[in-house]
Amino acid sequence: MPLNRKIAFINLSSGDVDIKPIPLEVRKRFLGGRGLDAYLLYNHTKKGCDALGPDNALIISGGILTATCASATARTHIMAKSPLTDLLGSANMGGFFAPELAWAGFHHLVITGKAEKPVYIYAHDGRIDIRDAGHLWGKTTTDAQWAIREELDDEEIKSCVIGPAGENLVRYANVMTGIKNAAGRTGMGCVMGSKNLKAVAARGTLDIKIAHPIEALEYNKRFIDQITSAKVNQTQGTLGTPFIWGATNSWGGLRTRNFQYNQCEYADDIEPERLDEIAEETIGPHHMTGCFACQVHCRAQYKIPTGPYAGKYDEGPEYTSQGAFGSLPDCTNAETVLAGNHLVNQYGVDNLEIGSMIAWAMELYEKGIITDKQAEGLDLSFGNDAVVLELVHRICMRDGWLGDTLADGGIPAAEKIGKNAFDYLIQVKGMNNLHSDERATPALALNIATASRGSDHLRSRPAIDLYHLPEPVLRKIYSNPVPYDGPISSEHTAYDGKAWQVFWQENCYMAVDCLGICKYHTVFLGATLPNFEDWPKVIYYNTGLELTSNEIWDIAERCNMIERLFNLREGLSRSDLKKGDMLNHRYFDEPCRRGAPDVVGRVIDREKFNRMIDDFYAHKGLDENGVPKPETLKRLGLENEPSQLL
């Protein structure tokens, strides 16, 4: 049974391991994956705990459907207090790790303490071992994974690991599995590094009995047909996420030169079609690969064609690497995007964050805020490809004053650099935004402002807002399973009804993160993909758990509220520029300079933005300061948190 997967509490200071079942009562309240992780984090950390101290809890999990006969249950979720934001840390990745962990008997690992010397955790068939990792320390993310397989003489082992960036406590180091699957955001790799934890390896041969196998199999087939018939997924399966870059750049939604432009010019060499050509030339016609049990296969394989890294095999680049090593620093060479992608994968660092930090440093240099002395001989001019790649090395190795400073994350770095450096940092809650520009899209601006892990598109972005879908279609999607009769608008530049869309997406994405499935299998980029009405059956057939659409909605709302409770406990406040639901002033003050006619000249209207926040808080049952009302906590059954059920 999926529901008999266990939770292991692992204390790296004492070496104690405590393995427990997950009570059904807890499942019904938090399901699994990210939702249950949020509950565990809130219950297993204390207010103000040091993100890099032994008291921080690092939680690694699969979802309730992981490795069952449902579509694309590949996601691994990682949660801890973030060393980048000092608020909620949370990151999610595909690949093959979470299913292996489930076959090994576990859904959640709660890791506390700090090992005296480098170790790795090995979860296998109901057991947890803590093993020496002295020989793995210093290795790149892939070398470390292959070394674990060699040491344990088992090619089927799946590991999530940190690279040198995590070891060097780069505040936005990630956790990786496979070639390029990355739990990228909020510095979860830095937390692993702080615990002297190089890797978590898993190998499992334990049965996961499907509650109703024939129905699960047939429903999965229906699901897959629904998912693969969506045009957006067919495009993903051909070009990967880069296709988003092409579309977004054409209408003017990409941060360029940090935040000075919203469209990258002369970028033919990094357009999705060009990257696809390189993949075809270096790998062959069948160069797309996928995560566990997924038929979207959105990940390209490639070899770097030219330059100092010529011949290196890697996967991607994603939309995010096109931004990080393309539009943000205004570098328009495919070689830089592909090499940058390779370097971040090997070092184990968040491509979004490092790309944003580099572009920010370049703008500061242009403005004379970073001096030549601080630049340490580097010409930080926009479009300087070699310097961008050099900075990746310096940041990940904390090499020199500039590398070390930028490795600390935006807010600490702004203090060290001085002057008004902070004003140019495109961040929310201490985490940089990805390379998208939300000035023309209020819904998307509200999403990044209120996302629980800091500026981020994968917590609540109503991406379908860009499609100008007819109002009845939008109303149908956004009235399920909870009726909504407020305003709704097909216009992506409008403010009306956007707060509800963001609220709905927040619950939708929380639900899939609890299930452990990928967001390409729900209403994210495609309007026809499965959502609340489809999940009760897939949950029932696979686990036997009977939940209605409304109950799943309630669970998602509850889990989102736990994340908010955590953030409030750690200092979140509505309008705080560094710890609030607030955007950088540039969103309100600097008009878009390029793009489509309905984009040029756009800014976010401060007053309307505040009203969206008011509405969003009202939908969530928060007061005007963003604090849950007592009746909201009562409705969600959260009035007694922390409740220590686990």
Binding site: A67, W103, I214, A216, N220, H286, A293, Q295, H297, Y313
Partner: protein, 165 residues
Amino acid sequence: MEKVLMIDHEKCTGCRLCELVCAVKHDGISNPVRSRIRVVKWEADGVYIPMSCQQCQDAPCQIGCPVGAISHDEELGRVVVDYTTCIGCRTCVSVCPFGAMNFNTVDRKVIKCDLCDGDPQCVRFCEVKAVEFVNAGDVSILKKREAAQRLYAAENRSAAIHSEL
């Protein structure tokens, strides 16, 4: 008409959905050790190769079985294990040249591809058609067509190069 699994590893994305549905179809359980088809990977090079039973004509498993538990099912073109006779000695596992005869360590019995009695689930679920179920006599003609297509494409490319010169 006899049909066979035709595997084109170049098309395989390595997702292992075939393993999942194979195990669930046969045993109602998700567990790769129960799957009759397995995707062998060289991840560092991005190479994924699905491996399953070839349903050999002169099957070493059948020839080697000391109790005669393995036979050829002419109708469906498959090699089958009779579990009432099988003693679980695993001779078939050791002689199979493809590693396609598996030993399920949970139920402690040998398992192999039975073509799902004519409706292989690995084929049904593989959208990229890395695994297909085709008439036994058509495999070579399909491969000929693909090879010819490559030749044709190469010829066109070389013609383009010549015209540029």
